[in-house]
């Protein structure tokens, strides 16, 4: 019964990824990336990871798409005097011969598939990842956390609390870096031309 849901989702995932690779209009590519994120979030939900699915749907499909659309609006290919841009201004140029990249990708993919022959099967309860640590966090977390039901939250916020603290430091650093990169430095001698570029886009 589950296969009727899983197989279309996986087929759509593959089709979306190939479409992103082939399409040249960047707006459409960004939109397809959002669809790809939503589809992968759906598969994660089926794979018993609701927390990751929520985060992927919110961050991967939401915030990433917004950031990419904002970037696209700042980077058209050419400027128009009228200030009105058409969809051709957001198309990438046709790429050169794709044979060498295809070859590299195929070889890498074959090597990875060869590597999976040693992997435990899908859903195998005796896989090493399910056996260690023993006792597992599922058994430990409820007495440790005084009955908190969600094990993912318990591990994320308590057992791996320092890691989550470091993660917030990463976000803070990235925010500062983005602000520094995008800051308009007016005392620069090349500021006049960069100002004119940004001025027309604003």
């Amino acid at each position: 019964m589950m296969d009727f849901i899983v197989i279309p989702i996986l087929a759509l995932l593959a089709a979306t990824a190939v479409t992103v690779a082939r399409i040249r209009n960047l707006w459409a590519a960004v939109m397809f990336t959002g669809i790809y994120s939503f589809l992968s979030a759906s598969w994660m939900l089926i794979l018993d990871a609701p927390d990751v699915a929520f985060t992927e749907a919110a961050v991967g499909a939401g915030i990433t798409t917004i950031l990419m659309l904002a970037t696209l609006s700042l980077t058209p290919r050419r400027q128009r005097k009228s200030g009105r841009l058409s969809s051709e201004d957001f198309e990438e140029r046709p790429s050169k011969s794709p044979l060498v990249p295809l070859l590299i990708v195929t070889i890498t993919g074959c090597a990875l598939v060869y590597g999976t022959f040693d992997m435990p099967h899908f859903g195998d309860p005796n896989a090493p990842i399910q056996v260690y640590p023993n006792p597992s966090f599922v058994e430990k977390s409820q007495p440790d956390m005084h009955g908190l039901p969600n094990v993912v939250t318990a591990v994320l916020a308590s057992y791996r609390g320092y890691d989550t603290l470091g993660e917030t430091a990463v976000i803070f650093t990235a925010g500062i870096a983005v602000l520094l990169i995008l800051r308009k430095n007016t005392d620069d001698q090349s500021s006049s031309e960069s100002q004119s570029v940004t001025g027309e886009n604003a």
């Binding site: 995932l13 593959a14 990824a17 992103v20 690779a21 590519a29 790809y36 994120s37 992968s40 598969w43 794979l47 018993d48 990871a49 609701p50 990751v52 985060t55 992927e56 961050v59 990419m68 970037t71 696209l72 700042l74 980077t75 990438e92 140029r93 790429s95 794709p98 990249p101 295809l102 990708v105 195929t106 993919g109 990875l112 598939v113 999976t116 022959f117 992997m119 099967h121 899908f122 859903g123 309860p125 896989a127 990842i129 399910q130 056996v131 597992s136 966090f137 599922v138 058994e139 009955g147 039901p149 094990v151 993912v152 591990v155 994320l156 989550t164 990235a174 990169i181 995008l182 960069s194």
Partner: protein, 152 residues
């Protein structure tokens, strides 16, 4: 047959991963490259999440009604398939209480939650760099930028 079908999830993930890799190395538009990195990243999330799945398992959210004390209520509400499963592998992720429930592994979920948030940080930084490159060079095509660098 099951030998082959047991690995299908890895192969799908590898296909998605290689599509992202192809976008990164074949396309010369900087935004397209970042999109490719994003697709690659999401497929890595999927790879980890598929590893944590246990057959007949459920999401690692424990039933709150059974506290740590309710060891007495053995096997109630669990069908025979689950019970057999648990009897065979006594050490898989079971609930704390003896109610026979199989949970999928929470650890890949935790790792990938961290990775998603770090991923959005790197994506935002990369997109800011693209905006800055566009301000300086007037284009976001890699070969045009390289040509300008060579000529200057």
């Amino acid at each position: 047959m099951t030998e082959i079908l047991g690995l299908y999830n890895y192969w799908i993930v590898i296909f998605l991963m290689m599509t992202g890799f192809y976008i990164v190395i074949a396309r010369e538009n900087l935004i397209k490259t970042i999109i490719g990195l994003n697709i690659f990243q999401t497929s890595v999330f999927l790879l980890y999440i598929t590893m944590g799945k246990v057959t007949h398992g459920t999401a690692p959210i424990l039933k709150a009604s059974h506290g740590g004390e309710s060891h007495g209520v053995e096997g109630h509400g669990a069908d025979h398939g689950h019970e057999l499963h648990v009897a065979a592998e006594g050490h898989v992720d079971l609930g704390v209480d003896a109610v026979k429930e199989v949970y999928s592994n929470p650890i890949p979920s935790v790792l990938m939650l961290t990775a998603i948030v770090v991923g959005i940080a790197t994506t935002a930084l990369a997109l800011a760099l693209v905006v800055r490159i566009r301000e300086e060079y007037g284009t976001i095509e890699e070969d045009e930028i390289l040509e300008m660098d060579r000529n200057s």
